[in-house]
């Protein structure tokens, strides 16, 4: 036999600190994260950040243009738009993020479970999802809010979160299920089964991490929808009610009547929503790439 010794050298990669790695490798995602963090800080410390009381009515400054005094102008009650946007971030971020997080996560688990067990289980779960899917989002949300009523915890209406999150479940479940169906057939799942691992371990350790990409995409896309759904519900009087500041209410309330005289009433809350959605999307996309070991170095 041939015994010529052959030495082969390999380079061992040095792994850097994950946070620093994220910032250097995903600068856009880091920018998105910074925007989200800034918004969250502003929302949390609103009383110190906001120049005015968001509820203070000032009849002397109704529909005031943006000026040094009111940076973003005032609304039809003379309330400061900037202050209302800062306070409104509380509801927007809390409801928007929580609702889509809860909705998407439940959806992802339902989707994976449905795909993994297949057969009758899959059939039953998918038909339930079909039923939920057949209701228009707003109708479903109205029903949930109407049935459950208000349930305020830490100043946040939990039932509103559920009402907005529920319609997302079947959508995420559908998408995640189709990815999970493909993954279920891969040999590494067979390997886990031949190793005799429990269903729970296979679902949570082996399948879920591999469907994180569609999950994160859906999650970040739904943050925007949740903020808008909150607006619609508030407009119908089922969500946040006047005079509590909320981005959705600011857009859909009296602002619509004054868009010609006072476009800032509608433009700035709209921009706030866009910025939040943009930040979540940037962060979500980067997070997806960053969580994929194939893209990490």
């Amino acid at each position: 036999m041939n015994t010529a010794a052959v030495t082969i050298t390999y380079k061992v990669p040095v792994r850097r600190h994950p946070v620093r790695l994220f910032i250097t490798q995903q600068p856009l995602g880091a920018a998105g994260l910074i925007i989200i963090v800034l918004m969250a800080i502003a929302a949390m410390f609103a009383p110190w950040v906001a120049p005015y009381d968001p509820l203070a009515i000032n009849y002397n400054a109704m529909l005031a243009r943006p000026s040094a005094e009111h940076w973003l102008g005032t609304d039809s009650f003379g309330r400061d738009v900037l202050s209302r946007i800062i306070y409104g971030a509380r509801t927007a971020l809390a409801v928007g993020f929580l609702a889509s997080f809860i909705g998407s996560t439940i959806g992802a688990i339902v989707g994976v479970v449905s795909a993994y067990f297949g057969g009758k289980t899959d059939m039953v779960i998918q038909r339930i999802m079909d039923v939920i899917l057949s209701f228009p989002i707003i109708v479903l949300a109205i029903t949930v809010v109407a049935v459950l009523g208000k349930n305020i915890v830490f100043g946040l209406d939990i039932n509103l979160v559920i009402a907005i999150g529920l319609p997302m479940v079947p959508k995420v479940a559908r998408v995640v299920r189709s990815s999970a169906l493909a993954i279920r057939e891969l040999p590494y799942i067979d390997a886990a089964r031949t190793a005799g691992f429990s269903h729970l371990r296979i679902i949570f350790r082996h399948i879920l991490p591999n469907v994180v990409a569609p999950y994160l995409i859906m999650l970040t896309a739904f943050v925007a929808q949740a903020i808008l759904a909150e607006a619609s519900l508030s407009f119908l009087g089922l969500g946040v009610t006047e005079p509590t500041p909320s981005w959705g209410l600011m857009l859909s309330g009296a602002a619509a009547d004054f868009y010609e005289q006072a476009p800032w009433m509608i433009v700035f809350p709209g921009l706030a929503i866009s910025l939040a959605v943009f930040a979540f999307n940037l962060f979500g996309d980067s997070l997806r790439d960053w969580l994929d070991p194939k893209i990490k170095l």
Partner: protein, 686 residues
């Protein structure tokens, strides 16, 4: 076969050069986020009209990339040709305007791809896809194009061509699709066909048919053929001239007979000896090329092969050797080529001088470890329209495996060999029959009994890319079963054990923190083996463990499996379609066809004297890497295709393709019987 005469196409301008295609000093780079990959570095080769030229090499050596460069089909913007010329009939293809290049593609040069399942469009009829180039390039009328299409399908041996034209791809089998691909390639009477691994995705008997077809067509129609392949047997059966590539560079060029008879590059020698061969006695171990091909992102300065070359000298590591004329019509990129030609591979230490016979295993014929009795696994594929459709994937299988033995299970795709493995692993449930493991019936166990069974029986999968969870590190993958079954007290101990297993399968401890995608195919396969060993099993089902690997890596894995068997007293069921590999590793062989056993015998008896006509045909179909032998060999090509397992033939399942079959075979299902001592076959003609 009587070939219809091809419709003549307008002759091209006469050129002065005798060469149809000249690739000169071609350089191709791929720009990636981690740097520039030099995929092709200065390769040159020439092709005469009507000649068959092979490009041989392992994956990543640049053989496919160089042919895509000829067609100007490199993936943009990452891939670009940075130097060299490609002359086709004297015109440099790299400088042609896009418009003219499009005219050449499909008309003068056509291409046949590896994967017949995905290279045809499933929503268009076959007729549409064959007539498309005729309408575009030759401006034929629809009727003329259809006539030509019928003629082409007849030429590639597809029965009932007129009716076939209006069918869609899913109605065709893999072999038939590859025939359709060839028909499309031939449509405009090209001067050159580039075939990229044309038979790799096909079964051996179908491969033999397609190879014969392509060879006949190229000879009869005077079409030059560039065949890209990693299979040396295919090269030997096919090629007039051979170009061996290694790590983006040309290693050796010459006529097929010369290169196979006396290779003048150590890599070629290595390739030739690492393939298990049917025409030579089985050695004790496969001789391998150690190590891995270099990373083309940062290739070593000297000869690309030097780190793996047993005959390297100091100069090899410093100087990059150029391809030189070393003997009449022989080119080699090795500074010791002349020496190699003079003293032969054994003289340079490239091949062991003595032939070692395999040591016979001391197997006790007692109580078998695994005893399968009348196993049946059916799949219900009934849908709303087709009521009660059942695929009989495994239909009455009986065999046993002794402790420490390796039983090979061979057959073509769809014969049910993988289902046998999956049923033994209890990934599928048996419809009928019994699986006795270590004296206990495990056919229908569940719960804790099943769990303890699963600790003793493990699996190694075919595809090293999808058999490891991409989101877990190597360490986590190997340690997981030890932690779940508490084979190790804590994480640290499990990690240490995982590191130990990694070294046992020939990897390095530091790889424990790596993710699967950071390893090569062969390394991943080793991780898969380590994961199986983590459970301390007594029995391992190896489901095509080497068929996705390059030949030089294949030999390493086979040797590893043999070493581990000795060390841990393992028992293997080795499922494969490669008869030569099965012969090398197995003690006994089971041949399957359409869910049924055709023949069971000890290895040497089976290969020396196959009884069943199917086994004989299988062995005949395998091309042997020796052109001299291939020329003199009179192989019978088995006609037809494997029937659908949904609707298997009555009587003997093989009678539709069997050369011996008569009416009696259509009536009676042959029983497996002991024709000779310990040699079983299922054929009434014996």
């Amino acid at each position: 076969m009587d070939l219809p005469v091809a419709t003549p196409v307008a002759p091209s301008l006469a050129t002065s050069s005798p060469w149809l295609l000249e690739v000169e000093d071609l350089h191709v780079h791929f720009v990636t986020s981690s740097g520039v990959v030099r995929a092709v570095e200065g390769i040159s080769y020439k092709v005469k009209a009507g000649e068959v030229v092979a490009l041989v090499g392992e994956s990543g050596c640049g053989k496919s990339v160089s042919s895509l460069a000829i067609m100007r089909l490199l993936a943009k913007p990452a891939g670009r040709v940075v130097g060299g010329r490609i002359l086709f009939e004297g015109r440099n293809l790299l400088e042609l305007p896009d418009e003219q290049m499009r005219e050449i593609r499909g008309r003068d040069i056509s291409m046949i791809f590896q994967e017949p399942m995905t290279s045809l469009n499933p929503v268009l009829t076959i007729g549409f896809q064959i007539t498309e180039p005729l309408l575009i390039h030759l401006g034929m009328t629809m009727e003329a194009a259809r006539r030509r299409a019928v003629e082409l399908l007849k030429m590639v041996g597809l029965p009932d061509p007129a009716r076939r034209l209006d069918q869609y791809t899913p109605q065709f089998s893999g072999g038939m699709r590859q025939r359709v691909m060839i028909a499309i390639g031939l449509a405009c009477n090209p001067k050159l066909i580039i075939a990229d691994e044309p038979t790799t995705a096909l079964d051996v008997t179908i491969q033999a048919q397609i190879l014969k077809l392509m060879k006949d067509l190229s000879r009869d129609l005077n079409i030059a053929l560039v065949v890209i392949t990693h299979n040396l047997g295919v090269v030997a059966r096919y090629a007039d001239r051979v170009n061996v590539m290694y790590a983006a560079r040309m290693a050796e060029q010459g006529s097929a007979t010369d290169v196979f008879a006396s290779p003048m590059h150590p890599y070629t020698t290595g390739l030739l000896r690492s393939v298990p061969r049917l025409d030579q006695p089985r050695g004790r171990r496969l001789e391998t090329i150690e190590g891995l091909p270099p990373n083309l992102l940062e290739a070593p300065p000297g000869c690309r092969f030097a780190p793996r070359c047993p005959a390297r000298q100091d100069a090899c590591i410093r100087v990059l050797p150029e391809l030189e004329l070393v003997a009449p019509h022989r080119y080699s990129a090795c500074i010791r080529a002349r020496e190699l030609a003079r003293v032969g591979p054994t003289g340079l230490g490239l091949q062991s001088a003595t032939f070692e016979r395999p040591q016979p295993k001391a197997l006790t014929r007692g109580e078998p470890l695994l005893d399968v009795q009348g196993l049946k696994t059916y799949f219900d594929v009934s849908s709303g329209l087709k009521r009660h459709a059942v695929v009989r994937a495994v239909d009455g299988l009986s065999f046993d495996i002794q402790r420490g033995e390796t039983v090979g299970l061979v057959g073509e795709s769809g014969c049910g060999k993988t289902t046998v493995g999956r049923t033994l692993l209890r990934l599928e449930n048996a419809t009928a029959g019994k699986i006795m493991f270590d004296g206990k019936d495990v056919t229908a166990i569940s719960g804790d009994t099943l769990k303890s069974y699963r600790r003793q029986i493990q699996v190694i999968f075919q595809d090293p890319y999808s058999s490891l969870n991409p989101r877990m590190t190597i360490g986590q993958i190997i340690a997981e079963p030890m932690l779940v079954y508490k084979l190790q007290p804590n994480r640290a101990a499990a990690k240490a054990k995982a590191a130990e297993l990694l070294t046992q399968v020939g990897l390095f401890e530091y790889m424990i923190e790596r993710y699967p995608h950071e390893l090569s195919g062969g390394q991943r396969q080793r991780v898969g083996i380590a994961r199986a060993l983590a459970m301390k099993p007594s029995f391992i089902v190896c489901d095509e463990p080497v068929s996705a690997l390059d030949v030089s890596i294949q030999a390493q894995i086979i040797n590893l499996l043999e070493d581990l068997q000795q060390k841990f007293g393992l028992t293997y069921l080795f499922i494969a379609h490669d008869l030569a590999v099965v012969r090398h590793i197995s003690d006994r062989v089971v041949v399957m066809y359409l869910g049924k056993v055709m023949e069971i015998a000890d290895r040497d008896a089976l290969y020396a004297d196959p009884l069943h006509p199917y086994t004989q045909a299988l062995l005949d179909a395998v091309p042997v890497p020796d052109p001299a032998l291939e020329v003199s060999r009179r192989y019978k090509v088995l006609s037809g295709e494997v029937p659908s397992p949904l609707n298997p033939p009555r009587g003997c399942v093989f009678h539709t393709r069997c050369p011996l079959a008569d009416d009696e075979c259509k009536m009676n299902i042959p029983e497996l019987r002991e024709v000779r001592p310990r040699h079983y076959a299922a054929c009434i003609k014996l």
